[in-house]
């Protein structure tokens, strides 16, 4: 039953993809990828490398700042660093263009714009800033598990200066963690579609995911389709090997340091420039762009200054009338299906497996989360396309394949920590199997179930990589409409709809933050 679901959702589509690609022989495949494909691969690779370096450095800095230093507003900053999680990546790219692009906020006020925002520099900045929370969370977990404050204290008591203690103890302990964080950021950056679609295409800068989109959407030739298959295969190999690398390096894999917690107050007072720098990052990468987007959304027209006489809420009404109500319905239906489906699948998988099998299924499911959205969007129709083309069902299947892992992880984490003696105690005190499940296991799991369902829901809400390749005349999602509006060049309506989508995502994200543990945000780590 369980392996059946995995095979049907992931295995069969990927097999079809490989058969399609290898059917014409590797030489033909390589030829089809050709120069255009090679350029896209190179572009994706070097921008992702820079994104990785940027995000890991900033994530490390943030994690050290919030765990090792004390300053006013430390807890608020720790939440502020996570703010990019609440903004869909393509919305973030659009908001940067409104803040720092031509005719953007900075140009209106200061007369300057960010050079190269359209193009690789902008892609690296926006993707890098967006990936900081992931790098930050992984590093934070690593610091907790591996770099106990007592280890640094022992170095200081042995005569090491603060800097020596950092380089000789903290950093060596963190290398594997930083490697894991880097591998995950690299995969996410390689798989990203929304940001290069918004910032790369106007400048003629093509990455693997935008190449795939262009070939599928605007070209009907067999050669173009073969190139898509080739690029998808490369994405797949990169994603799977990087996630495998991260899993090997990840904190859980290593024996825990034999140290317990010391008393609090290991933090030193921070020089004032540290929190100022951190806040400057949050403000310039999230707050100002989102403010610019909001101002665009409530200004009458593109050319007008955002001053009171020009402000209006009418844009929201217009955009909802014209484009988005159907798409909103589609989005909510898809998100609900993905949410319920993946939690049900995760529950079944966990109920049906135990011990070593649970670990194996868990890592299989995790790998499926790393599957690039573009790859699934190609593979799933290859397997089921004939009957389901242009239906919500085909998108839902791809979502389920992609997001199952998101529901699985928080549940598995709670189940793994659930002492088996809890159920045994219920059984020995007179509960049968079902009663024990109902009265003990499920109540303990409720917060995790809610967190898992919300997490999948929120990801499905702003998913665009899959849906933009699979939507049909009546199955566009809100994210697809936003992206299409952007490409038609209507900044005001784009901004209005993007603001609505972000409110939806951020609202549920905040609920999730309150319900679930923050650790469950750590995607595929």
């Amino acid at each position: 039953m369980l392996s059946g679901a995995l095979v049907a959702l992931v295995g069969w589509p990927l097999a079809r993809l490989l058969a399609e690609g290898l059917g014409s022989g590797p030489a033909a495949l390589a030829a089809a990828v050709g120069q255009g494909g090679a350029l896209a691969i190179a572009n994706s690779a070097w921008t992702s490398l820079l994104v990785t370096v940027l995000a890991v450095l900033l994530g490390l800095g943030g994690a050290l700042l919030t765990t090792r230093w004390s300053f006013p507003g430390r807890r608020v900053l720790a939440i502020g660093v996570l703010a990019p999680l609440l903004v869909p990546d393509f919305v973030s790219a659009i908001s940067w263009t409104r803040a720092y692009g031509p005719a953007g906020l900075s140009q209106r006020i200061l007369g300057v714009e960010l050079p190269g925002l359209y193009g690789p520099a902008g892609i690296v900045l926006v993707l890098g800033a967006g990936a900081v929370p992931l790098a930050y969370l992984v590093t934070l977990a690593g610091l907790r598990v591996r770099a106990e404050p007592d280890l640094e204290r022992a170095a200081r008591a042995s005569g090491a200066s603060a800097w020596e203690a950092f380089t000789s103890v903290t950093l060596p302990l963190l290398w594997p963690v930083l490697g894991a964080a880097g591998a995950l950021v690299f995969v996410i950056s390689m798989n990203a579609f929304g940001v290069p679609a918004v910032l790369g295409r106007p400048a003629g800068f093509t990455t693997m995911t935008t190449r795939i989109y262009q070939d599928l959407a605007f070209s009907a030739s067999d050669a173009a389709f073969l190139r898509v298959i080739g690029l998808a295969a490369v994405l797949l190999v990169v994603a799977v090997s990087m996630v495998a690398l991260a899993d090997r390096l990840a904190p859980d894999a290593v024996a825990r340091a034999s140290t317990g917690p010391g008393p609090a107050a290991a933090r030193r007072p921070a020089p004032i420039w540290m929190p100022i720098l951190a806040w400057a990052f949050v403000v310039t990468t999230v707050a100002i762009p989102m403010l610019a987007l909001l101002l665009t959304a409530i200004t009458r027209g593109v050319g007008l200054d955002p001053v009171p006489p020009n402000l209006t809420l009418a844009n929201f009404g217009r955009v909802l009338d014209r484009h988005a109500v159907g798409a909103l319905a589609n989005t909510l239906i898809l998100a609900s299906m993905a949410s319920l489906g993946s939690v049900a699948l995760a529950g079944l998988a966990l109920a049906a497996t135990r011990g070593r099998w649970r670990v194996r299924v868990g890592s299989l499911v995790t790998v499926s989360f790393a599957l690039p959205g573009s790859v699934l969007a190609i593979a799933v129709p290859l397997a089921y396309g004939a009957s389901l083309r242009d239906t919500l069902a085909i998108i839902a299947i791809a979502y389920l394949a992609k997001l199952w892992a998101l529901g699985h992880r928080p549940l598995a984490a709670v189940l793994d920590r659930l002492p088996p003696d809890l159920t045994r105690a219920a059984r020995v005190h007179g509960a049968d199997w079902w009663t024990a499940l109902r009265t003990v296991t499920l109540p303990v799991l409720v917060p995790a179930l809610a967190a898992a369902a919300l997490l999948v829901f929120v990801f499905a809400l702003h998913e665009v990589t899959i849906s933009i390749l699979l939507y049909g005349p009546s199955t566009a999602t809100l994210a697809v409409v936003v992206l299409n509006l952007q490409q038609l060049g209507d900044p005001t309506l784009t901004a209005a709809l993007a603001v609505l989508l972000t409110l939806l995502v951020a609202g549920i994200g905040i609920v999730l933050g309150l319900v679930g543990r923050r650790g469950s945000w750590i995607g595929a780590s």
């Binding site: 280890l151 204290r153 005569g159 090491a160 060596p172 034999s258 008393p263």
Partner: protein, 353 residues
């Protein structure tokens, strides 16, 4: 007398707070060169915080800390840990998971600028002194708890500091290992001549290792004195119960000359030596198990008997409350039986609060 070395450690009116929570208050004490001071307190009393303040991991809110006669911290400034002359042994060992035992012990010497080769040979020597030379290439994950703590002690010794801080170094070891480690610790400390502050919640350890014991409760020093003093003459009931098994009786004392008094409790009276705030009238008396004996003027019922081998512990129900009594040899009575008993000596803690 310029030849007298300064105290290895001096705390003057030390106060420490984590945020708004006070942790240590008005702590003043002095540790002479070469002396071992045990800091005895229940968990949460501030032992670790006290050591952290001395080491420089936490800055005091008020007061002064002097190490080897040099001011290292007050409310305004704090010398960083690496420039204080201290070695530290951690409760949870705090061994660096990425370094071998040899590299770990060589670490403090490398930080002092000693060359790699010499640091290694001296580290090997220290590991040998702690009996773990054969484990020099292992990392912490490959060592047992006792082995890890031996490496931790060797690392602290490698610092060659005038003051050694030990934070419950045996708390996570099995009982037989504890004794062995404590013996080795005492030997090495005596060899180097370093002073030591030894935090523990185990009264047996505190009395055994220390030249003096500071009893810490809720961030304040309740009593400080030689082991015999805190055991036989505790300042109050709380210290009495912390420093060993204690029975507290309410009795009427009739003052007699020469430190001897007649003690009357329900059922009888006995004339014994009573020290402390012994005025006439009702007084609260501390009786340690070995200060009471079977046979005498008082009646009791045996509630429980525990045979310990060399001696036997009795829990008695008496007219004036529960009494713990220790006697040589095998049990002489069983639970539920009636016995008689007497008090041989007692410590008066006044009329109580």
């Amino acid at each position: 007398m310029s030849g007298t070395p300064p105290p290895a450690l001096e705390l003057r009116d030390l106060r420490l707070a984590y945020g708004a929570t006070p942790v240590l208050d008005h702590v003043s004490l002095s540790v002479a060169a070469g002396e071992t001071l045990a800091v005895l307190g229940p968990s949460g009393s501030g032992k670790t915080s006290l050591l952290y303040a001395i080491a420089g991991f936490a800055a005091p809110a008020a007061g002064e800390i002097l190490v080897g006669g040099r001011l290292v911290a007050n409310s305004r400034q704090s010398v960083p840990p690496e420039r204080r002359d201290i070695g530290f042994v951690f409760q949870h060992y705090a061994l660096w998971p990425h370094l071998t035992a040899l590299e770990t012990v060589a670490y403090p010497m490398r930080r002092r600028g000693i060359g790699a080769a010499e640091a290694r040979s001296r580290a090997t020597e220290l590991l040998g002194l702690m009996g773990v030379a054969h484990l020099d290439r292992r990392r912490p994950a490959q060592l047992s708890g006792g082995e890890q703590q031996r490496v931790g002690v060797a690392r602290a010794l490698a610092r060659e500091a005038g003051l050694l801080l030990l934070d419950e170094p045996t708390a996570h070891l099995d009982v037989p290992l504890r004794g062995a480690l404590m013996t080795e610790l005492a030997e090495q400390r005596a060899r180097t001549g370093a002073a030591a502050v030894y935090a523990t919640h185990d009264v047996g350890e505190a009395l055994a290792v220390a030249d003096r014991v500071a009893v810490l409760g809720q961030g304040r020093i309740a009593q400080i004195g030689e082991p015999l003093e805190v055991y036989e003459r505790p300042v109050d009931e709380w210290v009495a119960r912390l420093t060993g098994p204690a029975s507290v009786l309410e009795a009427t004392l009739t003052e007699r000359s020469g430190g001897r008094a007649t003690l009357t409790i329900e059922g009888g009276s006995v004339t014994i030596s009573v020290d402390g705030q012994a005025g006439a009238g009702v007084s609260r008396l501390l009786v340690r198990p070995d200060w009471a004996a079977l046979d005498g003027p008082f009646d009791a019922t045996v509630r429980a008997v525990a045979y310990r081998g060399p001696h036997t512990d009795y829990a008695l129900d008496t007219a004036s409350g529960a009494v713990q009594l220790r006697a040589d040899g095998p049990p002489r009575a069983r639970a539920g039986e009636a016995v008689t008993w007497r008090v041989r000596r007692a410590w008066s803690m006044g009329s109580g609060r």
